[in-house]
């Protein structure tokens, strides 16, 4: 912890100085760095719990909350809630005491906070001089007092130009041109200071997904080479841009979304896309599970709300998303049927909660589903295989069943005969993950349920492979040759 303590004497009676300072929102009237301030939710500036939202003259925005306020002790304490400056766990106290000898005022302003390594001295000086001493000087001037020693004159350096308002260099894996694993190269890349609505992260773990292979080969037009692939990572917030609320430097966060760019040591991106991680979800776990776990959540809870007693069919039940769907659906109380490509994968699917793994190469899955369900069919079928399975998935549906097509790994789905679906009153949907995760509220609603499922053990994730980020090409080779099991993460 960094501790800062500054104090001064004001040549005015303590009650007069307290009258200036006691309004938590009054700093816009006396502090030279504050441009404007208001208390949120129409509360008063002497209500503990109230939050002041204020803008500095250089444009930086902060939110601070009043923790205690005492007219008896002429003192208040507050903490920072949002700030572009990395003052972590910052709690500060202002206290006035009378100097009976001369009817003056002793004013003490102190705080403790954590700071990113190496920035302790810099931030202590910023707080002590640019906030506390600048405030002392301004209030002393209000009472017509000569400022002592010049130390309390506001400095020209402003608060929101901390030393890291500079581009930050780091390494990144770059796709030089579309192609095989060999097109992945380790290069220097730069994370710019976060602009409005942006956050800058230092990644601690990065998720490897098959979509990264499609990004690299150009099968999906997700980047224009040279570009950085990767959709999923966890890391630490380095700093935040103006207008970003709810994220602080030092927060642990993760994300799983477009645009690409996760294969990097440092990254600047939209703050809306990242979510804070609870203590029980490690960075490595988050990098391994965010994209697959959010996919499972939206399939089971949003695209179709699976209920106790339902029977569901999951293709590729031993795959990354498939295993999570099996685990979660079984916990809900559904009967899970899955297709798998080998006996080993049948074992994996069964361990994940799939009651009836079907080896599709040996057994016709429609026949087997009808046998298991005694001719009724499944309430919902999750199909990302596409061309090879689509019509048969329809055949495996129960009356009023729901066929969810969320991918086409085996190729494009042929035109469908919608009118024919009247035979089952079937619902067919083709959900796009992006349409369920386009606002911060949607993302947090999904991740809240995902993190709870991880906390209470409903979802178990095995991180089976770890590669240094620099060796991403080797990780791609392993993934494409099906040498990996479970999740793979890259460590910067």
């Amino acid at each position: 912890m960094v501790e800062v303590r500054r104090s001064t004497i004001v040549d005015a009676p303590v009650d007069q100085v307290w009258a200036v300072l006691r309004d938590f929102n009054g700093h816009e009237r006396w502090h030279p760095a504050v441009a404007e301030s208001r208390i949120e939710e129409g509360r008063a500036g002497d209500e503990p719990g109230c939050v002041r939202r204020f803008k500095l003259k250089d444009g930086a925005e902060l939110r601070e909350q009043l923790l205690r306020h005492s007219d008896r002790e002429r003192s208040f304490s507050y903490c920072i809630i949002d700030s572009p400056i990395p003052l972590i766990d910052y709690v500060s106290t202002v206290t006035l005491k009378p100097v009976t000898d001369g009817d003056r005022t002793f004013w003490e302003w102190s705080s403790s906070f954590a700071a990113p390594q190496g920035r302790e001295a810099d931030l202590a000086e910023l707080v002590g001089e640019n906030i506390y001493e600048a405030g002392f000087g301004a209030v002393q001037a209000m009472f017509g007092q000569q400022v002592r020693h010049g130390a309390t004159v506001p400095r020209t350096r402003t608060m929101a130009t901390p030393a890291d308002a500079r581009p930050l260099d780091g390494g990144a894996v770059v796709v030089e041109r579309f192609g095989g694993p060999e097109v992945l190269r380790w290069e220097r890349s730069t994370a710019m200071p976060p602009g409005p609505g942006e956050v800058r992260l230092r990644h601690t773990a990065i998720g490897l997904n098959y979509i990264d292979v499609y990004t690299r080969t150009g099968y999906y037009p997700l980047i224009a080479p040279p570009g950085v692939p990767g959709m999923e990572a966890a890391g630490i917030v380095l700093d935040v841009g103006p207008g970003v609320h709810g994220l602080m430097p030092g927060d642990r966060v993760a994300y799983a979304c477009a645009p690409c760019g996760a294969y990097a040591e440092v990254r600047t991106m939209k703050a809306d896309l990242v979510v804070p991680l609870p203590d029980h979800v490690s960075d490595r776990l988050a990098a391994a599970v965010m994209l697959k776990g959010m996919s499972a959540e939206f399939l089971l809870h949003r695209v179709h709300a699976v209920r106790e007693g339902d029977t569901i069919l999951v293709h590729a039940a031993a795959g990354g998303v498939g295993q999570l769907v099996c685990q979660w659906a079984r916990q809900i109380g559904a009967t899970v049927i899955g297709t798998v490509g080998s006996a080993e994968k049948a074992r994996i699917a069964r361990a994940a909660g799939c009651a009836y793994p079907i080896l599709y190469a040996e057994t016709d899955f429609v026949d087997r589903v009808m046998e298991i369900t005694e001719g009724r069919g499944c309430d919902v079928v999750y199909d990302a295989v596409g061309a090879d399975t689509f019509m048969k998935s329809y055949e495996a549906l129960a009356v009023r069943g729901h066929l969810v097509s969320f991918g086409q790994a085996s190729g494009p789905i042929p035109p469908i005969d919608l009118a024919g679906f009247v035979q089952k009153s079937a619902t067919v949907s083709r959900p796009n993950f992006g349409h369920y995760t386009s606002t911060p509220n949607e993302v947090r609603s999904i991740t809240d349920r995902l993190f709870r499922a991880l906390a209470n053990g409903v979802l178990q994730v095995e991180i089976a492979q770890e590669y240094p980020l620099r060796e991403a090409a080797e990780a791609h080779r392993a993934l494409e040759s099906r040498r990996t099991t479970g999740s793979t993460i890259l460590i910067p």
Partner: protein, 146 residues
């Protein structure tokens, strides 16, 4: 319960002022009202519970017990055991705080006690101005000479 509070600013760093006032037996070296002092029972002057027995220049004798001493807070608390002032339940605290602006010292001296109602005004004056402010004035003079 009567409360007295006196505070002042001394133009010297707090650690230097503390070095002068922390010794519970050192009143004669800096307070103008005190003629001599000793610690009873041959105890050191910073042992919590020790008693200082001192004589005023006007002849009065006072015994005070050290209740608390903090080098961390620059603070010292004591109680009067016997005195000619006619007070009871007297507890006082002398406390220093650094004034970073100018490297000075904010000094507070406060007391609480019971006494007959008709003597309150005189005692507040004696304690607050005579003893406390008198001590601060001496410290201010002493440090301004250096």
């Amino acid at each position: 319960m009567v409360k007295v509070y006196t505070s002042s600013v001394i133009d010297a760093p707090a650690d230097r002022v503390w070095a002068v006032v922390r010794d519970f037996n050192a009143l004669p070296s800096w307070h103008p009202l005190i003629r001599d002092s000793r610690i009873e029972g041959n105890h050191p002057g910073d042992k919590i519970g020790c008693v200082r027995n001192f004589n005023l220049k006007d002849g009065g004798n006072i015994r005070e017990r050290l209740l608390a001493l903090s080098d961390y807070d620059y603070s010292c608390t004591y109680a009067i055991l016997e005195s000619p002032m006619g007070v009871s339940n007297y507890i006082a605290t002398l406390k220093l705080a650094p004034v970073t602006d100018g490297n000075r010292t904010f000094a507070e001296w406060s007391a609480e006690f019971d006494c007959p109602a008709d003597r309150t005004g005189a005692l507040v004056q004696t304690v607050g101005q005579g003893v406390f402010q008198g001590g601060f004035d001496a410290l201010k003079r002493s440090f301004s000479r250096r």
